[in-house]
């Protein structure tokens, strides 16, 4: 299967705005990581950073989803059937 490029290929030396932004977020998030390290299970630095990076987006989606379910439940209750 042929791969479809998501955006035009970068020129030599060009970093790309999206990449720069993500890199900035990732680097920033390193300094916001919690300190306690688990001796028993290695959580993995990359895994911790990823959670922090995607955490707020997931939380927003989740919040909308929960409210949407509440709204649906509200109207279902009003339905006489």
């Amino acid at each position: 299967m042929e791969k479809i490029p998501l955006r035009p290929p970068l020129l030599k030396g060009e970093r790309g705005g999206f990449n720069k932004f993500m890199f900035f977020i990732l680097i920033l998030s390193i300094f916001l990581l919690p300190s306690t390290a688990h001796a028993y299970l290695d959580p993995g630095t990359g895994s911790m950073i990823l959670q922090i990076v995607v955490g707020s987006v997931l939380a927003a989606v989740y919040t909308v989803k929960v409210y949407w379910q509440k709204i649906k439940a509200f109207f279902r209750k009003k339905d006489p059937s």
Partner: protein, 494 residues
């Protein structure tokens, strides 16, 4: 609940043995005494365990059937001289070297047969993943957190998955999920590969005992699978993030400094929700395998002979001494159900993923607590793996069953896999004490098919030689010819 004791001989049954897979967590360890599993909690595990109990989480998980329930061993003497009894008295002898001193001993509900993720069908794997997320969500609600999302912490009691590690919980803090990487490697990655690449790929977990490395999964997944939001985030980006940061010294130093970020409860719940919908979105691919229509297709299982076999098996089962049954090459479990319906714990092995999955789906629908379908290649059965090759048991180490059934199997072992009859007898004797086996002669149409394109070098494959070889292993033999076929059904015992 009955236990299949891998250390079956009575000489070892009075001593307790620390279970070989139990040495990583200093909060506790597992011992086996007189064939019964106990969990010892050390002083290191005390706080989290007491928080787990007092938070009400244990009650919720046990009452919902998500976690094995347990009783605390208080005062009751354990007879052995091993770890469980020494732990109870505070004597460090028998405890793992350097282990913290014991706090409590639990006797959990016993698991009749230990199975491994590389033996599960797709739906079993998926249910085990959803169970793990469910357990973690319940924990968060009680201000606790699941610290260990290993696939080895899930077992099946019949068709029902259950979490077995009572010590996998800690107090919740506002920080990222410590077991996120583990969950992705142990559950999401294998499920994605099974669903998107090939159903049999979980078998390769025998080589990757800590789950599939995410960069490997990233390489194997097709482009269009990577474009699914959940897989993109939790596998592809996750792998990239690992590769980017894992080996950079300065980042490790940076993370070890005092820093704080509130990864609050909402984010933690959102993460589970995202993982759950990603798992739910993975479906079993619509493929046809060689054996899935076997039971209904046009072969020698005409109704008459099927009923004959059924009655033959029922006679053996109704004699009442069989408590555990292994059905080797059991397809979708038609004959295993004769056992599970009689409350005989029946493990039905087949090499075909779809057959095992169909069997599991049916058992699940019926709420069958005595039927455990598993995938294994009998020509190359599950090996013992892990540290020192003793952490996870081989197939035969988990025997012996009271009864083994090998119906319409021997010609595949002798001809397809090219294993001599004497070696087949040796393997079957290692699996079980009694044996029901169907002999399928060369004149049978199915065997003729196997021989179509190969030279017949199987000169020992005759009914006389079969009886001679198997008769040497088991002292008693009872046989009946299956009507309407060339086949014979045998019951062997000693």
């Amino acid at each position: 609940m009955l236990v299949l004791d891998p250390f079956d001989s009575s000489s070892t049954s009075t001593e307790s043995l620390r279970v070989n897979s139990s040495f990583r967590d200093d909060a506790g360890y597992v011992v086996k005494e007189n064939g019964v599993i106990y969990r010892v909690i050390t002083d290191k595990g005390r706080d989290d365990f007491e928080a787990f109990m007092s938070s009400g989480l244990y009650d919720v998980l046990a009452s919902r059937g998500l976690l094995v329930s347990h009783e605390e061993i208080v005062g009751a003497p354990l007879h052995g001289k091993g770890a469980a009894s020494s732990a109870r008295t505070g004597d460090p002898v028998g405890a793992p070297l350097g282990a913290p001193s014991p706090h409590k001993i639990l006797k959990p509900v016993q698991i009749p047969f230990i199975s491994y993720p590389y033996e599960w069908s797709f739906s079993q794997f998926k249910d085990a993943a959803l169970l793990t997320l469910d357990v973690h969500r319940e924990a968060l609600k009680k201000n606790m957190s699941l610290k260990d999302a290993s696939f080895f912490n899930v077992q099946f009691i019949g068709s029902k998955p259950i979490f077995i590690d009572t010590l996998s919980f800690e107090k919740r803090e506002d920080k990222p999920w410590v077991a996120y990487r583990q969950f992705c490697q142990h559950f999401l990655a294998p499920l994605a590969l099974m669903s998107q690449v090939d159903l049999g790929l979980n078998r390769h977990l025998q080589a990757h005992i800590d789950g599939f490395p995410l960069p490997l999964v990233s390489k194997l997944l097709p482009f269009k699978s990577k474009m699914r939001a959940g897989l993109m985030m939790h596998l592809v980006m996750h792998a990239k993030s690992q590769q980017k940061f894992e080996n950079k010294k300065e980042i490790k130093q940076a993370t070890s400094q005092k820093m704080n970020l509130a990864f609050n409860l909402t984010r933690q719940l959102a993460l589970i929700d995202s993982l759950e919908s990603t798992v739910r979105g993975l479906k079993i691919p619509s493929v046809k395998t060689e054996w899935i229509d076997y039971a209904d297709s046009n072969n020698n299982y005409e109704l008459e002979s099927k009923n004959f076999k059924k009655e033959f098996i029922e006679k053996v089962l109704d004699a009442g001494v069989v408590k555990t049954l292994w059905d080797l090459g059991g397809n979708t479990g038609f004959f295993s159900r004769l056992g599970s319906n009689r409350k005989i714990y029946s493990v039905c092995f087949d090499g075909d993923q779809l057959c095992v999955d169909a069997n599991y789906q049916q058992a699940k629908k019926e709420g069958d607590a005595f039927m455990l379908p598993l995938v294994t290649d009998l020509a190359n059965p599950t090996p013992a793996i892990g540290w020192n090759n003793t952490e996870r048991m081989s197939l035969t180490q988990r025997g012996r069953a009271d009864l083994v059934m090998a119906l319409a199997l021997i010609h595949h072992l002798r001809i397809t896999a090219n294993v001599p009859l004497a070696k087949i007898a040796e393997f079957l004797a290692a699996c079980g004490r009694k044996l029901i086996i169907e002999f399928v002669p060369k004149t049978d149409s199915m065997v003729a098919r196997l021989l179509t394109h190969r030279e017949d070098v199987f000169h020992d494959y005759t009914v006389q030689h079969f009886e001679q070889v198997f008769g040497a292993v088991w002292s008693k033999m009872h046989k009946e010819k299956i009507p309407g076929s060339e086949r014979t059904l045998y019951f062997f015992e000693s």
